[in-house]
Every structure is written in C-alpha cells, then in structure tokens.
Amino acid sequence: MIDTAIASLTSGGAYALLGVGLVLTYRMTGVLNFAHAVVGAFGTYTAIVAFEAGVGYGVAMILGVAVAALLSGGIGVVMARWFAEEATIVRSTVTIAMFLGVLVVGFRLFGDTPRVVPALLPGVRLEVGTVTLTGSTLLSVGGVIVLAGAVAWFLAKTRTGIVLRAVSERPITARLLGVPLRTLVVAVWAVSGAVAGAAVTIIAPTRTNDYASLAILILPALAAALLGGFQRVGATIVAGFGIALVELMGARIPAVARYRTVVPFLVILAALLWMQRKEVWDEAR
C-alpha cells in the first residue's frame, strides 16, 4: 500500500508542477493556458527525437526544455502582441486554438506511435525501509519543492514579481506606469513553457507514451490548479499529489479500476460544485 503511494509521487509531482505552471501564468498574465501541457509534450518529444538521433541524453533533455520554453515564449509573443487587452476568456480561448495547433503539428512531426523514454537518473535509488524511491520520483518531488519555493519567493519578494501581479490585475494601468509589459509577459510564458517541458520530461519515462496522451496531462493539471483556485500554489501542489494518489489507489479496487482515468474530471466537477455552493440561483444565473 505504501509502495503504491510512493509510486504515485512521480505522477503527483508532475501534475503538481504542471498545475503550478498554470497558476503561474494565470496569476501573472491573466490567461488560463490550455496549451500548457502540449507545449511540454512537444519539448519532450523533441528531446526523444534528438536522443534517438544520437544526441547525448542530458543534452537532449535540455534541448527539449529549451524548445518548450521557445514555443511557449512564441505563444506569449502572440498574446502580448494581439490579445494583451482582451478579456481573460478571449485570451484563454486563444490558448485552446494554440493547444490544437501544437497538438496537430506535433502529430505530423512525431507520429502517434508510443515511444520508449529511458529513465532519468537510472542508477539513482533511495531505499527507505521496503520502499524504493527512484530517480524519477526524487526529481519530480524535488522539482516541485524548488519550483514552489521559487514562485512564492519571486511573487512576494521581488520587484518584478510585484510588477507582474500588477500587470495581471490592471494591464493598462501598469503600462501607463511605464512597465515593459510585452517583455515581461513573454518572459513569463517562456519560463512556464520550460517548467512544463521539465514536468512532462520527468513523467515521460514512467509510463508508455504517445504524444497525445502526454498533451492530455493538461486535465489532471487543470484539476489541480482548479483546486488551488488558480491562486494558491500550495493547494495546487497538494491537489496534484492527491489526484495521482487517488488514480493509483483506484487501480487496487477492481470495481472502480477501469474508470480511474476519469478521476480528474470528477475532481473538476466536484470542485466547481463546491465553489458554487453559496451561490443563490438568481445570482449564479
């Protein structure tokens, strides 16, 4: 039982990382980024293709993260250039178009056959009692801790972080105050793309992957971010680990095992109902 919980840490960490990336872009640029995971998957697949072509594993992984950052930065340029003053809902819808675009281009480039991704840090194993922590698990959990700390520190303590929050809440005011809006927004997109690339690369070796199923990692990530209200990094992280745990525990119960992949949808549904619980019908409508 504990083994299963430990085994869920890798997925949980990746869900949390992706979820935090969503919260990050939402808080800083006011966009619900549906293209978040597909950009990461694109980066990961670039890394796999480079690795298969003979590039060293470490270099290939860094290349993949860089490609994800560039791609996401490119989306950021589009956002800052043409959609900076649109409403959140419009900008979020644009990311759905981006999601489909990157998905389809990736399909053409990478095909849809599952690929094998060698384990990250294959020799690294940490034995805790009867439980084995693999390199992927350590990277995943470590990555979450580092990222969460960095985000919290950046948003609360740095001038740029505070400026970004201003940009998110009052873009026009911020620009009138002389904030270099476009550069900052593009930088946030690029960083979030790099985080997505890293998250997907960490989770990739632990499962059999095709490009589409990696892109669909957006679902557990969205569920985690939603539970964090798209604001709270800590709650998002807890939710990410929780979703992965429920998914894997479900595999142990024969009656629900076949349906465990719908867990993120149930979580999203339950969270939305919970958030609406105090709405009166007339107001909610």
Binding site: D3, T4, A7, S8, T10, S11, L100, L103, V104, F107, R108, D112, T113, P114, R115, V116, P118, A119, P122, R125, E127, T132, T134, S136, P205, T206, R207, T208, N209, D210, S213, L248, A251, R252, P254, A257, R258, R260, T261
Partner: protein, 410 residues
C-alpha cells in the same frame, strides 16, 4: 471538439496519402506494361489473365501492420518472375483500411465485387475480421489471414490465420509459465481492450481446463498509457512468481523498467509475440533491464536466430526491403501456403476452385510453424497452436525452449 478537429485533420491526411498511392500504382502499372512488351517473344506469365488475390490491412492509423502484406507481395513477385502459376501471373491487391470499420468494409467490397479476387491472403488488420468475416461467408470468399488480431479472426468459418494470435497465444504463454517454467504462482496483467475481453477470458479458461490450475492474481484494467509501477508492485505483493501479460512492444519495455526501478529480480515475465522484436531486446539491453526475466513467445520459427529454416524467408525479405519481423513471417507463410494451394489445383483457377481447395486443406506442414496449418470447413479456425519461447539475455534473445511448446488439444 478536440476529437472532431483531430478526426478532420486525420481524415485530411489520409485522403492525401490515398491520392499518392493512386499515383504510385499507376506508375508501377506502366512499368510492368513496358516490361511485358520487352519480354513478349517468350510465352510469359503476363500473357494470360492474372490471378487476383486481395488483402485488407491497417497501413495508416494508430497501430499499423504493414509487413505481412509486403512479405506476401515479395513471395508473389517471385512467383511472377519465375513464370507465374501455370503461366498466369498473380496480381496481389493491397488495400488500406486505416483501422476504420467503414474503410475495412469498403476495401473488402472493392476487392471481392469490383476486382473479383479469388481469395484473400496475407491480410493484417486491427479489425478486418470483425467487419468482414460475415461478408466473406456470404460471398464464399476465404482468407488466409497473415496476422489475425481481433477475436473474430479466430472465430470465422471463412478466415484461418497463420498466426496464433493474442488469445490462444496467451493460453500458450500461460501454459509455458506453469508447465515449462514450472512456476507455482502464475499471475495475469492484462491491458483493458473492451472488445477483446471475452476472448481473453476464454483463453485463460482454456489454460485452466488444460492444467487444472488457476491464477494467483490478475488485473484486467491496465490502460495503454498507465504508469505500470503500481501493477508490478501489486503482483509482487500477491507473491507472483511469474506474470503473463499482453501489450504492445513498448509495454514490455515499460514493465521491465518498472521491475528494474523497484529492484525486483526474482519474478519471471512472459509476454506475447508483440514483445518479440529486435528493438525491445536492444533497448532493454542498453538499460540493463529484464535480462533473464523477460520471456516472449514466437508463433513462428524465431526470426532473430540464425535458423536454417528461415534462410529463404530472410533472403527474400532482405531483397524486397521488408523488415525482418514476426509479421513478415506471417505474410510470407500465408502467401507460400496460397501458392502451394494454387499450384495444386487442376483445371481453371477461379474463386470456386480456390475455395474448394482451401476447404480440403488439412495438415499442411511447414518448418516455420510447430503445428500444421489447416483450413477445412470448421466454423472457426486457429490452427497454429505452437510457440517457441525466447528469453532476454543481455541485449539479445536466446531460445528458452529448443522444441515447440505445443498446446494439447481438448
């Protein structure tokens, strides 16, 4: 919405490649015509009306099987180079169903009604049998399937695959685990493909009936993109000495990676023919995983070994540029059987005479298979009941059984 958009995109892509194929076919036909003219002085195969054979294959889509029909084509091309069947050339028509039921139905109707093929041979499709089995029965067309995949390939009066398939293959693998490896606690981890479930249940039941044993643990709910670690841990906790699983080639790599990551080295693993590829051995070899643990079944003479039985197959495939895989063995074998059947027919070769010959075909021995191929008039066919098993050793496959493991009948 996503699904719709993707479907449109995929449909657009498929449309494009079909056009390309059309152009290629035209070019080839022209070339053949030229060759015929040059060779005209002698009485050549091309002077007489060709014998049309067809095949329906999943060539584009998520899971593709291109090798079987390519291997069959190589066999027929050679027959044509050597003068055809009593002077008549073989025209082998390869259709793509794109793993789509409508595509498979249309392909079969094109071949059977428009082209008037005398029989089907070397088909390898994800769903062709399920879609076309009843149609073939209705039309009196028989198919020597190159790679039977869906359950109805093994449950139709008009289809007899040369391969064992994922169901009887699973029974043989269980039998190997419990009787040859002689392990006590035999467990099953099975990927959940809803349409295949009853056939998998029947396959396991057949093993129970044969051996009087039962599974120590089973989980039928694996998804293709799961992290397999929790399932591997479940099997370990259940005290499994050997796990028999289905899956695609990449899944066996996933299982071995998980075993390695968890430091489990005392649990044997038996996989189906889908895991028997050179890439699986190489990849696991480079990771240092699965050595001595992973076993796979080979429904034909194992192609990675330097077996003299496969000399002709290997030369022909290499010459034709067909990858050396189990699927290519299946296509070659199906085509070879068909050539023998055609050559054995006295009188005109028509759909009726070919069907009659297939219905009379029993006990066809070939060194590439461990139990004789047959067609006959039974309501269902699954003649290949034998496998050789291979064990991963470092980065290569070695024989785990010198002789065929033949599933007892009854």
């Amino acid at each position: 919405m996503l699904v719709t958009v993707m479907a449109i995109v995929v449909a657009a892509c498929t449309g494009g490649s079909v056009e390309d194929d059309g152009q290629t076919t035209t070019t080839v036909a022209t070339t053949q015509a030229t060759v015929t003219t040059t060779a005209a002085p002698a009485t050549t195969a091309a002077d007489l009306e060709p014998i049309k054979l067809g095949s329906v294959n999943s060539l584009t889509g998520q899971i593709v099987f291109p090798e079987a029909s390519a291997a069959a084509k190589a066999v027929f091309d050679r027959v044509n180079r050597e003068g055809g069947i009593d002077g008549r050339p073989i025209e082998y028509l390869i259709e793509d169903d794109a793993a789509d039921p409508a595509g498979a139905a249309q392909a079969a109707r094109r071949l059977v009604e428009d082209e008037g093929v005398v029989a089907m041979v070397g088909s390898a499709s994800l769903l062709e049998c399920a879609v076309n089995g009843a149609y073939y029965a209705e039309q009196g067309v028989y198919s020597i399937q190159g790679t039977g995949v869906d359950p109805l390939c093994f449950a139709s009066s008009n289809i007899s695959p040369v391969n064992t398939g994922p169901y009887l293959g699973y029974t043989v693998s269980l039998y190997f685990a419990s009787e040859v490896l002689a392990k006590e606690n035999v467990c099953a981890l099975i990927f959940d493909i809803p349409d295949f479930r009853p056939a998998m249940d029947a396959a396991i039941q057949q093993w129970r009936d044969l051996t009087g044993k039962d599974l120590a643990f089973s989980n039928f709910t694996l998804q293709f993109t799961d992290d397999v670690t929790p399932f591997v841990l479940q099997a370990r906790d259940a005290g499994c000495e050997v796990v028999v699983s289905n899956g695609l080639d990449v899944h066996y790599i996933g299982f071995m990676q998980a075993l390695q990551a968890q430091g489990i080295d005392d649990m044997a693993w038996v996989g189906l023919t889908s895991g028997y590829t050179a890439e699986v051995a190489e990849t696991l070899g480079s990771m240092g995983a699965g050595s001595g643990i992973l076993h796979v079944n080979s429904e034909f003479e194992p192609f990675t070994l330097d077996s003299p039985v496969l000399e002709d197959w290997r030369n022909l495939m290499t010459e034709a540029g067909v990858p050396l895989t189990s699927f290519a063995e299946g296509g070659y074998l199906a085509a070879t059987i068909m050539v023998d059947v055609l050559e054995g027919i006295d009188g005109p070769i028509t759909r009726e005479s070919v069907s009659e010959a297939l219905l009379a075909l029993e006990g066809y021995e070939h060194p590439m298979i461990g139990s004789p191929y047959s067609f006959g008039d039974a309501p269902a066919h699954n003649p290949n009941r034998a496998s050789k098993f291979l064990r991963l050793s470092g980065g290569t496959w070695e024989l785990a059984t010198d002789d065929w493991v033949v599933l007892p009948t009854g």
